[in-house]
């Protein structure tokens, strides 16, 4: 039952509680069952199930407001803070060494659990479940640029929690910046090169 396994591990990572995870999966499966007509044939079925689960999670199990999460992550400029020292982590160097990888995996999961919900959801869908940005945007109901930005911050938060960020705890405040735009990026590049 690969889909059930995926639903359960995602529920577990989102709720961080075994009993809540079971309840969330049941709610999501019943909802998917009732609304199966809404599933669009030919699209990724697992992604659709995960979308239903994510929606149920945010409507019924959410514990943190988006505001408080933004504050928790420092709402900093996504590029200039916290990342630098991350690459110096030793296990990165030889990822094929299994024992070190297992250690890294355990530490990363622990760090993931501490990432605020909205950001954690995006990181789980991207890196654990392997959904595309479009599928994630559809699942969490926000633009792709927001997915990119949240993913970036979530990964940086994981790095910081692992003690890998150079200035992890003291990001400077910046009011905006939840959205990145690929188009803007390309246009800027074009102007720069042309």
């Amino acid at each position: 039952m690969p889909h059930l396994d995926a639903l359960h591990r995602t529920a577990l990572r989102l709720t961080r509680s075994g009993s809540d995870a079971d309840d969330l999966v049941q709610d999501a499966v019943l909802k998917a069952y009732r609304f199966f007509d809404h599933y669009e044939a030919g699209t990724n079925f697992r992604a659709w199930l995960l979308k239903v689960l994510t929606n149920v999670f945010f409507s019924k199990y959410r514990r943190q407001t988006l505001d408080s999460q933004m504050r928790a992550l420092g709402e900093g400029d996504p590029v200039s803070d916290g990342w630098m020292g991350m690459a110096t982590m030793a296990p990165n160097r030889e990822p094929e060494r299994l024992a070190e990888r297992a250690l890294l995996e355990g530490a990363v999961l622990k760090a993931l659990d501490e990432v605020p919900e909205e950001f954690r959801a995006v990181l789980i869908l991207a890196d654990v479940e392997g959904l595309t940005y479009r599928e994630i945007a559809d699942a969490v109901g926000c633009p792709i640029g927001t997915v990119m930005s949240r993913l970036h911050r979530a990964r940086r938060a994981v790095a910081t929690k692992l003690g890998l960020g150079a200035h992890g705890g003291e990001q400077k405040k910046k009011s905006e910046g939840d959205v990145l735009s690929l188009d803007a990026f390309r246009n800027r590049k074009k102007e720069a090169s042309g």
């Binding site: 009732r34 079925f45 890196d127 990119m148 800027r188 590049k189």
Partner: protein
């Protein structure tokens, strides 16, 4: 170094393979000359890899499964019409057995005629040579040059032997075993042949330079489909199903003696690194 901020905004998308080729090239150009940004890309890849690895071995508790079946039964009983309930029960079975994914892919192709058949769709004369070549090499079942017990060994085996990176494909939630691999050819170009056993059936994944792929796929015997929102092509040659897809300049051909629906089902679970 100039361009670092810009690069860091998009390096996540680059690692995730979400940038279009033009934007990816810009990031790569910067990475080629900036060690710090390169290290950041490595670090992201490392976190991503550790999280992906956490998928392995997770199974939902058995108690949850029985609880779900009971809940779905109850849901069915609330429905007045018996017929309606039966139809819905089929959906439920689909959810829980994950069969729905494969069925819907098969339906989405709109290619019912050849979904269940095992014979070739078109005559041998009309068969694209590439398809025939792949089917033939899958059929031959040559001895492996490296065994599949340790996937990193398989990847290492191809390093230096092929001019494209070859990583064994992981099939999520599918009982697939990597038997081994060897150097092969596709259309006179070197290719990696990765041999898998899926539920007792042989499945070969050929990895090769996508330059080999024909420009026009609308040849007889190749059917465009979408798998996980990515374009792919299905064909049938010599009684074997072949699914062709491309990712970042590398072509993947999956050959099996299973019907197209099952082969597409397997492909939809493939995790290409």
């Amino acid at each position: 170094m100039e361009g670092c901020d810009e690069t860091r905004r998009y390096v996540d998308a680059w690692v995730d393979g979400e940038l279009d080729p033009g934007a990816a090239l810009m990031v790569e150009t910067h990475l080629a000359r900036c060690e710090e940004c390169r290290e950041e890309a490595d670090a992201i890849r490392s976190i991503k890899g550790a999280l992906a690895a956490s998928r392995e071995g997770h199974a939902a508790p058995g108690s949850l499964r029985s609880r779900l079946l009971a809940a779905l039964d109850e849901e069915d009983q609330e429905k007045a019409s018996v017929e309606h309930a039966t139809a819905r029960r089929k959906h439920a079975t689909g959810f829980l057995l994950a069969g729905a994914a494969m069925t819907t892919i098969a339906l989405a192709t709109g290619w019912r005629g050849s979904i269940n058949g095992t014979g070739p769709v078109a005559g041998a004369a009309m068969m694209p040579p590439l398809l025939d070549d792949i089917a033939q090499r899958h059929a031959r079942n040559l001895p492996v040059e490296v065994t599949g017990s340790e996937p990193t060994q398989v990847a290492n085996f191809f390093t230096g032997r092929l001019d494209i990176p070859v990583r064994p494909v992981h099939f999520r939630g599918v009982p697939a075993r990597l038997v081994g691999a060897r150097i092969s050819n596709v259309s006179d170009r070197m290719a990696a042949a990765l041999y898998y056993e899926v539920g007792g059936r042989r499945v070969t994944v050929f990895v090769f330079d996508s330059a080999v792929l024909p420009r026009a796929f609308d040849t007889d015997g190749l059917q465009p489909v979408r798998v996980n929102n990515q374009p792919a092509y299905v064909g049938n040659a010599r009684g074997y199903t072949v699914v062709l897809s491309e990712r970042r300049g590398i072509a993947y051909a999956v050959a099996s003696d299973m019907p197209a629906s099952d082969t597409l089902g397997i492909v939809s679970q493939a995790d290409i690194q």
